[in-house]
Subunit: 356 residues, 2 copies
Amino acid sequence: MRFTKALVLIFAVLFVFSASGFAAEKPVRWRLAMTWGPTLQPFVGAVENMAAAVEKMSGGSFTIRVDASNKHKAPFGVFDMVKMGQYDMGHSASYYWKGKDLSFLPLTSMPFGLTGSETYAWYYFGGGLDLSNKAYNKHNMYSFPGGNTGVQMGGWFRKEINSLDDLQGLKMRIPGFAGEVLANIGLTVTNIAPGELYTSLERGTIDALEWVGPGMDINMGFHKIAPYYYTGWHEPGSEMQFLVNKKKFEQLSDKNKEILRVAMRVAAYDMYAENYAMSADAWDQMIATNPDIKVMTFPEPVMAAMKKSNDELLVNMKAKNALFKEIVESQEKFQTKARKWTEMSEYSYVRDNLVK
Amino acid sequence: MRFTKALVLIFAVLFVFSASGFAAEKPVRWRLAMTWGPTLQPFVGAVENMAAAVEKMSGGSFTIRVDASNKHKAPFGVFDMVKMGQYDMGHSASYYWKGKDLSFLPLTSMPFGLTGSETYAWYYFGGGLDLSNKAYNKHNMYSFPGGNTGVQMGGWFRKEINSLDDLQGLKMRIPGFAGEVLANIGLTVTNIAPGELYTSLERGTIDALEWVGPGMDINMGFHKIAPYYYTGWHEPGSEMQFLVNKKKFEQLSDKNKEILRVAMRVAAYDMYAENYAMSADAWDQMIATNPDIKVMTFPEPVMAAMKKSNDELLVNMKAKNALFKEIVESQEKFQTKARKWTEMSEYSYVRDNLVK
């Protein structure tokens, strides 16, 4: 009887404790696989900041171990590992999975498509996030925006491009859909491992290549050997992605779901801002050490040919895949309105105050 | 003795509970005062989303009650109420406090200054946040970015502006520093309560006024009575602000500090994206219902005169206040680098793909 009384008292105390804000939260220990190596900034920093925020906001009860590709050895296996639950979540880029389903392509960026600011407006306030999950739910996953690179540059060229003729047979490293667009107008498009790019460009195995923008290009050194840096057209606002296993996500408490959602969202936005600052700094350094590099824009007939090639390829792709068509048309419709605002606002302001 | 044994048992159980992930978290109940009325979107939504995220992420143990100005009756008393601890935090705009200390002015936006994307890059990756807190710590507060409007339009004009002469004596409602810049070049600058603006413009009491951009202007109806909508120069990326009482912030647990920090940060970024989508939609609606409205840019001599007036006023202001000088010079230095990147990236991309 004494024992029973004590037990009653204990439960009474625990009940009062629970009611006054305590809740039994089982520790959650997750693992995240990145497509990237351990030093690729600002991607890796964004993921680590996300994990750190989750840990702090949960008071240590929810932690995420971040594995770079040198650890899990499968940079392009992230999709399948998260889908199968070998990893709880991942960080990658949606367009890497276009071979599995074309619908994944436009969730990163499309040639002549949305800018960074327009991309976030579309994802969060223009129906993009729902369409993205329509594609990923089929694969037992959720996908969330994971950080934007802003406009990616059109690439480093060893020679100036004055006409469409200058592009015939020109050997360029440019992967993915943009490569198809350029192959269509006469370029010889190749893919080369990142570690061999510098040497290939230096030795003339290739004449040109695209990477990202100044912030991520500077450490590659291309500006020392290919002086013409062309402005962008093919990835005007590439959004990285967080992938989360659907079943694992559903098992989280409401509190942890919100902590994860908000931590991913702020890490993505922060990456865009950080990349902006990195690109500003890196360009400043590049031009100081290599004053001969020049920012160039493709001549109008070249731009028109790229646009035409892009539009032709899109017609076929839309016919092949209904969800791809739905996503691209949602972006096109959004862009029609958003670009008018971009032109009235930031574009006009920058145009009227160009740096001398 | 029986009672003592029971107590020992209770404490033993509580100890095991605490060690296994429980932590005594006292419920925190905060109050926030907004400068805005209860319907001013997207400002109010951003604040409410922030409070909702804090509540969910803390499992209900940290809540923030949001009071609009119709509740606390002191829209421009937010600074003092938060400083004195009558409210734990606030949402407002830093430049409203320029009369207290000029240093607060550039923390919102400066004429010919940073765009929205550049503003976030400066705040978070260019030293801005530290400088902001250097100004606010003197007043027992922390300040955090609270949402960006993007480029604000130059205003609605009843007549087209073709020269500096057209501006002489022109009566315009434009508050704050931008008003001083325009008074300097011949305009008659007035301030009028928001509720009386439409009638004043319709009756010709004023010839022009500025508000924000399409997303926030549409409900004011100015586009029905003043067909010339000028592009922006005076607030190219206005950042709202969260103010937090310093002592109250320091009393939060590390977990709640992080929850609040992250919730404010994501709410601010989200407001920028939401305003982008709202402006795109609103402009689309305005031009559909009022096809005669025209987007205009001030002629070059007018822009040059505004810039000259701005630069002259800045010289005096920098001489008066050392921290103002430090903040503005930090922004100017950052802008020199960041604008080159803006021009190479988004500006060039938009220019080469203008909407026909």
